[in-house]
């Protein structure tokens, strides 16, 4: 199936001369949740802003459901809802008015029942008549989500949706995003919370220094995640790994004091028990042991570091 968003050779050089995007190619599949990860200043917001029509690209093309964002902007934009990173709201308006305004702006006839449902879903119904400036930061963020949803977008961009939202509400937001996905909405989110990507995303993309450095199905990443290691601190340094243990994936540290065993945690038989028994048989004693898992965060950090 044709990807819902297709980015080709996208570049952006700001007026200051700074090149924020250096040739981005990216496909986003219809109906998936795509998590865009990357350090501060990687170009996430720039990329999103170009797709949404807020920033002009310096080179390259973007199509949204087959509509070019420049030549066929009206069709492209009416499919997209955007929750920007910055909290920007019409301070003096009521929640109800500002959300209804967004729906009109996107060319949709009024639909009070829909707006009510969105506000209830986001626990904002009690606040519908409050002025936006009288809300807390987390509530304002939810108002912005309500504005983006008010025109029933097929694609939703969430630029750090859960920044400044408390844990309980964050859970609620994840659930809501899950429900949206079930209704067929494609969701692209950026986040600094790795667990958020782990929890929700179907696909994870990593961007750094204006380049996409990885796009991978989360399942594939999780396989890498499944790799764990067991580190044994030895009582006395070992000159070399005994030949009898050579069929185990073991590595010995340079000082001979640490033995590292890699295993697959998804596997039923991790082989830890037999390994420990065999070590005992060889009189290799240890003072301490620990297991580590490579998290998405670790993969992410090492990837980004490699490139810099």
């Amino acid at each position: 199936m044709q990807p819902i968003i297709q980015v080709r050779g996208l570049e952006k050089t700001y007026a200051s001369g700074f090149q924020a995007l250096k040739g981005i190619d990216l496909d986003i599949r219809r109906g998936e949740i795509f998590a865009l990860l990357g350090p501060n200043g990687a170009g996430k917001t720039t990329l999103i802003s170009i797709v949404c029509g807020i920033v002009r690209a310096s080179a390259g093309t973007v199509t949204v459901d087959g509509h070019d964002i420049v030549t066929d902007w009206r069709a492209a934009r009416s499919l997209i809802g955007l929750v920007p990173q910055e909290l920007t709201t019409e301070a003096f308006e009521s929640v109800w008015a500002t959300v209804s305004f967004s729906r009109g702006l996107f060319g949709k006839p009024p639909n009070p029942a829909l707006i009510e449902r969105i506000l209830r879903d986001l626990s904002l119904w009690e606040k519908k008549d409050s002025k936006v400036m009288a809300l807390s930061g987390g509530m304002k963020r939810r108002v912005m989500i309500a504005k983006a949803l008010s025109h029933e977008p097929r694609i939703l961009f969430l630029d750090e949706p859960t920044a400044g939202v408390d844990v309980e509400l964050r859970r609620g937001m994840w659930e809501m995003i899950g429900r949206l996905r079930e209704s067929g909405v494609t969701i692209i989110l950026t986040t600094h919370y790795i667990e958020e990507a782990e929890e929700m995303a179907d696909t994870v993309g990593v961007i750094s220094g204006g380049r996409i450095i990885l796009v991978e199905k989360k399942a594939a990443l999780m396989e890498q995640l499944g790799q764990r290691q067991l580190t044994l601190q030895l009582q006395s340094p070992l000159p070399a790994i005994p030949a009898e243990l050579s069929n185990y994936p073991l590595t010995l540290s340079a000082d001979g004091r640490e033995l590292v065993y890699r295993f697959d945690s998804q596997h039923e038989h991790t082989g830890i028990a037999t390994l420990l028994r065999r070590l005992g048989d060889h009189g290799i004693d240890f003072t301490n042991l620990r297991t580590e898992e490579s998290s998405l965060e670790e993969i992410f950090v090492s990837l980004v570091r490699e490139r810099v």
Binding site: I54, V55, L82, P84, T89, F92, L105, F106
Partner: protein, 257 residues
């Protein structure tokens, strides 16, 4: 399917902007109405009674069209500039930029709302003036035409100003240093034929002169400059403003980086 014109969006912006006026009713409407009343009391009633009639019209009545024009054009500029500067300043402009709405529709929404306010304001001032002085309107159609043209043109100018300004100071300095002086020297309080010949020539460079003169003609049938010239100059100014707005959107000037 996507419509050729996003009428819902125009309506949303238009009503949103009018709602803003409603919230700040006092500043937007009551303020100018009160200050104009003060002009009438001071110039029309107190001092005006000592002035002779200008071109066969009592001084109080002579003042009416000029004062209406003055309020309409200063308020158009300030309303429209504020209307577009505010979302730029607060960042909410992102929504308009990301919406399926064309430059033309955006301008119709914002400028239409600002011009509507000015027309309402002008009408209210006329009604207020009626309490102080007696006046007649010789050419009602042209009176309305000049009022609408001026409101739209100066709302466009305000819109341009609101996009150009990158601080509150700039937003206020243009009305203060350019619009208000031109409005005051635009013949609201006097007929330019009362000026020495040299200043009469200088005054002809002031676009406001043409507006006030044309507007006054629609009331009393007399004018400083031929009414056709007034109309042509107003139209010219409108076209210039439209051209600048078109250029702004085509280039994304100060709107998109």
């Amino acid at each position: 399917m996507t419509a050729a014109i996003n009428l819902h969006a125009i309506k949303a912006i238009y009503l949103f902007e009018l709602a803003r006026t409603w919230r700040t009713l006092f500043q937007s409407i009551a303020g100018p109405v009160i200050s104009t009343s003060l002009y009438f009391i001071v110039f029309g009633a107190a001092i005006g009674s000592r002035f002779t009639a200008v071109e066969g019209v009592s001084y109080g009545a002579f003042l009416v069209p000029g004062l209406v024009m003055m309020s309409v054009l200063t308020e158009s500029v300030s309303n429209a500039s504020f209307g577009i500067y505010m979302p730029r300043y607060s960042g909410t402009i992102y929504e308009v930029l990301s919406a399926p709405i064309s430059a033309f529709e955006t301008v119709v929404g914002y400028v239409g709302a600002a011009a509507t306010k000015s027309i309402i304001l002008g009408t209210l001032i006329l009604l207020t003036a009626r309490l102080f002085v007696d006046f007649s309107i010789a050419h009602p159609f042209w009176m309305v035409a000049f009022l609408v043209l001026t409101s739209v043109t100066f709302s466009l100018l305000g819109f341009i100003l609101g996009i150009w300004a990158d601080g509150w100071e700039k937003l206020q300095i243009v009305p203060l240093l350019i619009v208000t002086p031109l409005a005051f020297l635009g013949g609201s309080f006097y007929s330019i034929s009362m000026l020495p010949p040299f200043w009469q020539k200088v005054t002809l460079f002031n676009p406001v002169v043409y507006l006030v003169s044309g507007f006054r003609w629609s009331f009393y049938g007399t004018a400083d400059v031929p009414v056709a010239l007034s109309l042509a100059m107003t139209a010219l100014f409108l076209v210039i403003c439209l051209g600048v707005v078109w250029w702004i959107f085509r280039t994304g000037y100060k709107l998109k980086n």
